[in-house]
Each structure stands twice: as structure tokens, then as C-alpha cells.
């Protein structure tokens, strides 16, 4: 803020000298509106900016001068020599105030008071500006400001009915009603219904006009002012009605909220007499009212939504103490998931058959089944989801015990404990996490005295954080310890024979060395770690979960390990591809894009398995060759590119069929040794497709490539060992 202050001071000096010149000019030509405007603007800027950068006295003092000049501008006060004199002395005072802020009371208060008084006297002659008006203005401004901190109403939830009918010209003021509605959503539980009655036929629609009105039922702990503040900028460009419909106290008669007709009458959409005549009939009240044209369908829907909203709220209040969950044996869940899996398979078969018969009634049923199955699948999956918090809290004890044992002071922070993951994923995550945390405590965080010497707080921190991102969950374990020493890792890896002594490795590649079997940085083997079983176990565990590990570290500042895990393992989104007439599934998560590969492309690459995709050279693997399919490839093949361990690899197939909901079936034990296939699935037509493990495929191809090359030129040592696709 201080640099801003300095900038203001500098600016104020300029403005004041400009003001002086203007005033002197004004004395010569007292009625020139251009010069009066300049004087007013200068005063205005000094006042506005002054208040903003903490020069409150300047702002208050200039305020009176500005008000006088506003009147001069409007022709209500004429410029006279005494006015110019007074203004010039005011300029001097302002200058003093600005330069004086450090010293405090050095300034003579009486002079400023005298000047202020003179200016005020000038204003008294005509009518003074309405104080009430100015005050009201400041209040609204304050309302916007204070809105976020508005006092909660003792945490009591009140339900409001809000009707927001914007004027047709709303858009031309640059207002986006969606943002207003979103802001309401942030206040609490919200049911929003658009009233589309006002929308004319398409041919009459003017896209720049807002035809829609909204009925909003909002349950919030905030008061009505908070709601009004949302609409503060559109207050006079809309019709806004806010009414309390449930004050959060009644809990009895949970489902017995007002009748639909009563709500409509209350809202003024319908009068009571008309309601009564209609009520004599026996059909459902809502459709009756619509049929008789008294209210529109949208209005009825909005009223119904209100009824529903309140019923749910009251019901929830009532059942809060009663049991919110039931316990079910895990096997039952597993078998449910299995059955849903079967159902998904059958459903896709049904869809395929219905598409072939092209019979409308069959297609209808098939689509219904598809929708229901998708819902059922999502629901079942969500049942299996557990918050990771329970696992997190187990580690607190671990951290406490280990740090005492090692004589270190360490606290564990957790974040995102509510993040949900598939039950099986959580179970298998436990061991890898223990390893990583142990490593952090043993190798990462230094002893208190070492930390103090390095200028860090004696107490070290391990931070455990989980968050959702798309179909993945990221788990981050970071410590503020010593960090990884790339040189030391390198030296160790050379000593262990994991890499050649002249290998060129990126920082990322060096970190990934620590994940290799048998690698340990511990100089002595302790109880806690150092046996070289650790990170490679972690890697195996995470791989088995279809996840990946990333490490980042800065020497002296700490290490962060990020685990990326799929939300669920039972059903994945897959890409169905075809080679000859055999189909395979690739997990969609790792896939980036599909591009064509023509014979020309192949011949241009001179027999190298490389393709240039958007300016990047991407090595590819011909699955046709790898799986020794006979026959010949089509003229145009497809490259499916995937990002594996940070580098791009392409997989060439004949044809990309499309996205496929893949229910993973494990393979029989017979096929356990086939590494590059992670499972199988049953396709809609009953055929089996193998699910490919892209990472293993890439490793396999790389190993083979190396083998080929070393056979060819056995004299040259290979340069890198891990992760590289650079051939």
C-alpha cells in the first residue's frame, strides 16, 4: 500500500500545481466552463484518491471545496476574487496535509477550520445539499461492503420466496442474471424455476431482450438484506419480491405445508374466489388451474417447487436425529456392484439390438433402460464411496509415535478429509500412504536443532491433502523438510548400477529413480526405513490402483508427492479400438487424442516409428505388430496418443470404434503373467475385449527396442534407463 501512497502524493503535487494555474486563469476569465471543469476535477480526484489511500483529513477538507465548485459548475455560485483567494489558500493547506502525514499535529488546525467554515458559509446561502440523501447513499455503499460479514441469524435457517422479474432491457446494462442466481445459490439451498411464460414465438424473439422471470425458493441462514444486496445493482431495473415463507422454527406437520392453491393466492397469481370455483372439480388442482387458464404451467411448477422445498426442509429437520444410515455387509455391496456391471453389459446389448431392429417401441424401451441403468450405476458407485478422512486420522497416531521415537517435532495437517473414494481404492491406499509418510518423517524432516539452524521453525509439518479433479482424486503428501538432493540420488543410482554414470536425466527422471526397486537413500538402516523396500512398494501399490505418482522437491524446502488415483475401479470409461476384427479397450483417462496415420506419413518417417503431431514428435507403437496380427493394415490407420509418466506415446490401431462404459472383469489366473493386459470386458454383442495396460505396453516396447539396438550395436552403452521415449 505504501507505494500506492507515494504514487498518490506525487500525483497530488501535480494536481495542486495544475489547480493553481487553473485558478489563476479562472481569475482572468471567471466564467469559462472549461477551466471551472478542470478545477472541479482536480479537487474531485484529490478527494477521491485521498480517501482511498488513507488521507482522510485531505478528503474531508477537500469535500467542502469540491461541493462549492460543483455549484460554481452548475452556475449557482459565481467566481469571485475572494473565492479564488480562499481556494488558493485551501490548496496550500492540502499540500501541507499531504506532506505532513508523518509528523502528526504540526499543522495549525485553526487555519483549516477557518477555510472550511468560509466554504460552508458560501454553501449556506443557497440550499445545502440534502444531508439525508448523501447519507442514504453512503449506507447502500456500506451494505455492499458489509454483505459478506453480515451477521448470521443465530444460525437459524429461514426460507424465502423470491420473485425476480427483470425489465426487458436488463442485458443492455451488462447484467448477467445467471450470475445473480449463482450468487443466491451461494447463500444457501436454492430451488430456482424459470418462468418462461413471457417468451414469445421464436420468430418474434429479440435475442437482446430478457423475457424470463425467476421464482426462487432459498433456504439460508442469512437475512433479507443479504438477499437484497445480491440484487443491489439491478434494484431499479427489476421487480423484486422477497417474502419469508418458513422461519425455520416449525418442525411439526412436516409434509403439511400450504396447499398449492393457497400458495398461488398468496403470491397474487390467483384470486381466492376463482380458486374456490375451480376447487369444486375433482382433478388434480395444478392441472385444473392450468386447464382453466387461470395460471400458467410455469407458475404452478414454481409453486410446486416451493411446496417440495419446504417439505424437504421440514422433513430433514425432523429426521436429523433419527438414523441417517444403515449398515450393510460389504459383500452385499460387492455383489450389488457386480450385478450392476452385468446389467450395464446387458443394457448395451439391448441398445445394439434395438438399433438393428429399428422398431420405435423397442428403441423407446431400450433408451429408458439405458437411462435407468446409468442412474443405477452412478448410485451404486456412490454407495461404495467412502470419505478418506478415516484413513487420514489413523496417520495422526503414526506421525506422533514416529516423531517421538526419532526425537523430532512434527505435526500432521490434513485437508479434504471429506473427499470420497471407492472403498477398494481406500483400502489399498493405506500401505502406500504409510510408506510415504514414514519417509517424510525419517528422511524429510530434520531434527529440531538442524531446522533452527536453517532458519525454519523447530516443528516440522507433514501436510496431507485430498481433492477431486474430474474422474480422479489427487492425494498430496508434502513436508517442509530437507527435500531431495538430486546429486546424491544420482550418485547413489550410479553406485547401485541403476543408471550409467554419464546418463543425462531431467530432475523428474532423477526423482523417479527413488521409486525403483532396491533404491534407498538412508545411510543407516533404521527401524523406520532404509531397507530399500519402500518407494518401489508404493509405486507397485499405486500402479495396481491404475494410479500414478509424481514427485516434486526443492532442496532445503521440502518434498511433495502427488498420487493421482481413479475414483473407482469397477467401471471405467474406455476407448474401444479395433485391429483386424479383434477389439481392445484402452482406459480413457490417460488418452489425449486420436489422429490419422497414413501410409505417406509412415514412409516420410523413414521407417522410424515417429509421428509429428501438432509440432511435437511422438513415438508410436504398432499394436498390430506387437500382438502379431496377420493380414495387412488399412491405408489409413489411427494413432491414439496417451500421456504416460509425463511423455506422449502413440498406439497405432486400425480403427477407433468409440467410447465404451467398461465393466472390468478380472482375468483367470492362467493369464496372470500377461502384463500388458489389465483385465477384460464383455462387449454389447457378447464378445470379449481385452483391456490394455498402456504403461506396461510402452515399457515393454521400450525394452524390446533397447534389446534390438544393443544387439545391433552392442558396443555403445545405453544412455538412459527410465521413463524415456527418446530413441
Amino acid at each position: 500500500m505504501d507505494t500506492h501512497k507515494e504514487a498518490f502524493k506525487e500525483e497530488a503535487h501535480e494536481l495542486l500545481s495544475e489547480l493553481e494555474t487553473a485558478l489563476l486563469e479562472l481569475e482572468r476569465t471567471p466564467s469559462d466552463p472549461e477551466i471551472i471543469g478542470r478545477v472541479f476535477r482536480a479537487m474531485h480526484t484529490i478527494k477521491g484518491s485521498g480517501a482511498m489511500f488513507g488521507f482522510d483529513r485531505v478528503a474531508a477538507f477537500t469535500h467542502d471545496v469540491e461541493t462549492v465548485y460543483d455549484r460554481v459548475r452548475n452556475g449557482k455560485i459565481t467566481v469571485t476574487k475572494p473565492l479564488i483567494d480562499l481556494t488558493l489558500s485551501a490548496c496550500d493547506e492540502i499540500l501541507k496535509m499531504i506532506d505532513d502525514t508523518g509528523q502528526g499535529e504540526a499543522q495549525d488546525q485553526s487555519i483549516t477550520d477557518r477555510i472550511t467554515k468560509s466554504f460552508r458559509d458560501m454553501l449556506l446561502a443557497p440550499k445545502t445539499p440534502s444531508a439525508a440523501e448523501t447519507d442514504a447513499e453512503t449506507d447502500t455503499a456500506q451494505a455492499v461492503v458489509d454483505a459478506p460479514e453480515a451477521p448470521a441469524m443465530n444460525g437459524r435457517e429461514v426460507t424465502y420466496r423470491i420473485r425476480f422479474c427483470p425489465e426487458p432491457g436488463l442485458f443492455s446494462s451488462g447484467t448477467n442474471p445467471v450470475l445473480l442466481l449463482n450468487e443466491l445459490r451461494d447463500l444457501g439451498t436454492c430451488d430456482i424455476l424459470a418462468n418462461t411464460d413471457g417468451i414469445p414465438f421464436l420468430s418474434d424473439v429479440d435475442p437482446e431482450v430478457c423475457y424470463t422471470a425467476w421464482d426462487i425458493i432459498l433456504t439460508t441462514t442469512r437475512d433479507e438484506n443479504a438477499i437484497r444486496d445480491v440484487f443491489i445493482f439491478v434494484e431499479d431495473a427489476c421487480e423484486l419480491n422477497i417474502a419469508v415463507i418458513d422461519d425455520g422454527r416449525q418442525t411439526e406437520a412436516a409434509s403439511d405445508y400450504k396447499k398449492l392453491g393457497q400458495i398461488l393466492v398468496e403470491r397474487g397469481d390467483l384470486n381466492a374466489g376463482a380458486l374456490k370455483t375451480v376447487l369444486d372439480d375433482r382433478k388434480r388442482i395444478g392441472s385444473l388451474l392450468v386447464d382453466s387458464g387461470l395460471v400458467s404451467n410455469d407458475q404452478v411448477q414454481a409453486a410446486l417447487a416451493e411446496q417440495q422445498h419446504i417439505r424437504e426442509k421440514r422433513l430433514k429437520r425432523q429426521t436429523v436425529e433419527s438414523t441417517a444410515s444403515i449398515r450393510v455387509p460389504a459383500e452385499k455391496l460387492d455383489s450389488l456392484v457386480n450385478m450392476v456391471g452385468e446389467l450395464v453389459t446387458v443394457q448395451s446389448r439391448l441398445s445394439q439390438i434395438s438399433a438393428r431392429f429399428n422398431d420405435l417401441s423397442l428403441i423407446q424401451v431400450a433408451e429408458e433402460v439405458e437411462r435407468l441403468t446409468a442412474e443405477l450405476r452412478d448410485n451404486t458407485m456412490s454407495i461404495r464411496m467412502l470419505p478418506i478422512g478415516a484413513t487420514f486420522s489413523r496417520f495422526e497416531r503414526l506421525v506422533r509415535d514416529l516423531s517421538t521415537e526419532l526425537g523430532k517435532e512434527i505435526v500432521l495437517n490434513t485437508e479434504g478429509a471429506e473427499t470420497e473414494l471407492d472403498k477398494t481404492v481406500i483400502e489399498k491406499l493405506n500401505d502406500p500412504l504409510i510408506h510415504i509418510i514414514r519417509n517424510s518423517i525419517d528422511h524429510g524432516i530434520e531434527k529440531p536443532e538442524v531446522r533452527k539452524a536453517a532458519g525454519k521453525p523447530a516443528q516440522g509439518t507433514v501436510h496431507l491433502c485430498a481433492e477431486h479433479s474430474g474422474a480422479n482424486v489427487f492425494i498430496r503428501i508434502s513436508d517442509d523438510g530437507a527435500g531431495l538432493d538430486t546429486e546424491a540420488i544420482r550418485a547413489k543410482a550410479v553406485e547401485k548400477g541403476l543408471i550409467a554414470s554419464d546418463a543425462v536425466l531431467s530432475e523428474k527422471e532423477i526423482f523417479s529413480l527413488t521409486l525403483m526397486p532396491g533404491f534407498s537413500m538412508a545411510k543407516t538402516i533404521t527401524n523406520v526405513s532404509g531397507r530399500g523396500v519402500g518407494m518401489d512398494v508404493v509405486k507397485k501399490g499405486i500402479d495396481a490402483l491404475q494410479g500414478s505418482i509424481e514427485m516434486a522437491s526443492r532442496k532445503g524446502a521440502g518434498t511433495t508427492i502427488t498420487l493421482k488415483l481413479p475414483l473407482t475401479m469397477a467401471i471405467i470409461d474406455g476407448l474401444l479400438v479395433q485391429i483386424d476384427d479383434v477389439r481392445y479397450i484402452m482406459p480413457l483417462a490417460a488418452i489425449e487424442e486420436c489422429v490419422e496415420l497414413t501410409r505417406d506419413d509412415v514412409s516420410r518417417a523413414h521407417g522410424k516409428h515417429m509421428a509429428s503431431i501438432r509440432g511435437e514428435i511422438v513415438p508410436y507403437i504398432r499394436l498390430r505388430e506387437m500382438f502379431t496380427h496377420g493380414g495387412s493394415a488399412p491405408a489409413i490407420e489411427q494413432i491414439v496418443t496417451a500421456r504416460l509418466d509425463g511423455s506422449r506415446v502413440g498406439f497405432v490401431v486400425d480403427q477407433v470404434v468409440g467410447q465404451h462404459q467398461t465393466v472390468i472383469k478380472s482375468m483367470s489366473r492362467m493369464y496372470r503373467d500377461i502384463e500388458h493386459v489389465s483385465g477384460a470386458t464383455i462387449l454389447g454383442d457378447g464378445n470379449v475385449a481385452l483391456i490394455l495396460d498402456l504403461a506396461k505396453l510402452a515399457q515393454h516396447a521400450e525394452a524390446r527396442e533397447k534389446q534390438d539396438r544393443s544387439e545391433q550395436e552392442s558396443a555403445t552403452p545405453h544412455r538412459t534407463r527410465t521413463g524415456s521415449q527418446k530413441k
Binding site: G48, M52, T138
Partner: protein, 121 residues
């Protein structure tokens, strides 16, 4: 891509403070010293929002808002004006010209960001 906001003010210190605050919050900022300058710069860049002072030489805030609203590219973008409490009529005039909202000077950085979030989403 981050959103672009133009700040129009003849006071360098206010411009500096506004720009600094907005950049800090991850927006891109274009500065203009008055209405005329703003209009000249509008063509160079797609703007997502304009924050303008009202009292400026050459072309004042009200004039600028009117001019911007007549441009197809700025017809529907949020335009927020900076006013002082003494400018009640000005505020009305600004709204009539097509301003989306206003911020009352003096304001704190957080208030500026709150208003930007409100109208820009």
C-alpha cells in the same frame, strides 16, 4: 485465458491501485487515462469488463459508457463506474447510460474484487 478488464481513470494513483489489485486477482488489465483514450484502446483488445471513473477530461465516464454501449463488442459487457457519495444524480445518469453497477470511492481492494466477481462471475 484470464479475463481482460479496462480501468479508466485520470488519477494515476487510482489506476495503479485498481490495476495492482486486479492483476493480483489474476485478471489482465488495460489502463486508459480518460474516455477518449479508452475508446481508442477498445479496438485493440477484446474486453471482458470496464471500470471507469466518472469525472475525466476530454470524455467523461457517462459519455464513455454511452459510447461503449453503442459498440457491438461492448454492448453487453459489465461496466462499473467509480463514484463518490456526492454524485447521486451522476449515478442515476450512469445507470441510464448503461452502467452495470458502481463502486463508491473510497474503496478497499477487497471491495473492488467483490464487485468484479459479482458482475463478471
Amino acid at each position: 485465458m484470464s479475463k481482460v478488464i479496462m480501468t479508466v481513470d485520470d488519477s494515476a494513483s487510482v489506476r495503479q491501485m485498481v490495476s495492482f489489485t486486479l492483476r493480483d486477482a489474476g485478471y489482465d488489465v488495460v489502463e486508459a487515462v480518460d474516455g477518449q483514450d479508452a475508446l481508442a484502446k477498445v479496438d485493440n483488445q477484446a474486453l471482458n469488463m470496464v471500470i471507469t471513473d466518472l469525472n475525466m477530461p476530454n470524455l467523461d465516464g457517462i459519455g464513455l459508457i454511452r459510447a461503449l454501449r453503442s459498440l457491438p463488442s461492448c454492448k453487453f459487457i459489465p461496466i462499473v463506474m467509480l463514484t463518490t457519495e456526492s454524485q447521486v444524480e451522476k449515478k442515476q445518469e450512469g445507470k441510464a447510460a448503461g452502467a452495470t453497477g458502481w463502486i463508491v470511492k473510497p474503496f478497499k481492494p477487497e471491495q473492488l474484487i467483490a464487485v468484479v466477481k459479482k458482475v463478471l462471475g
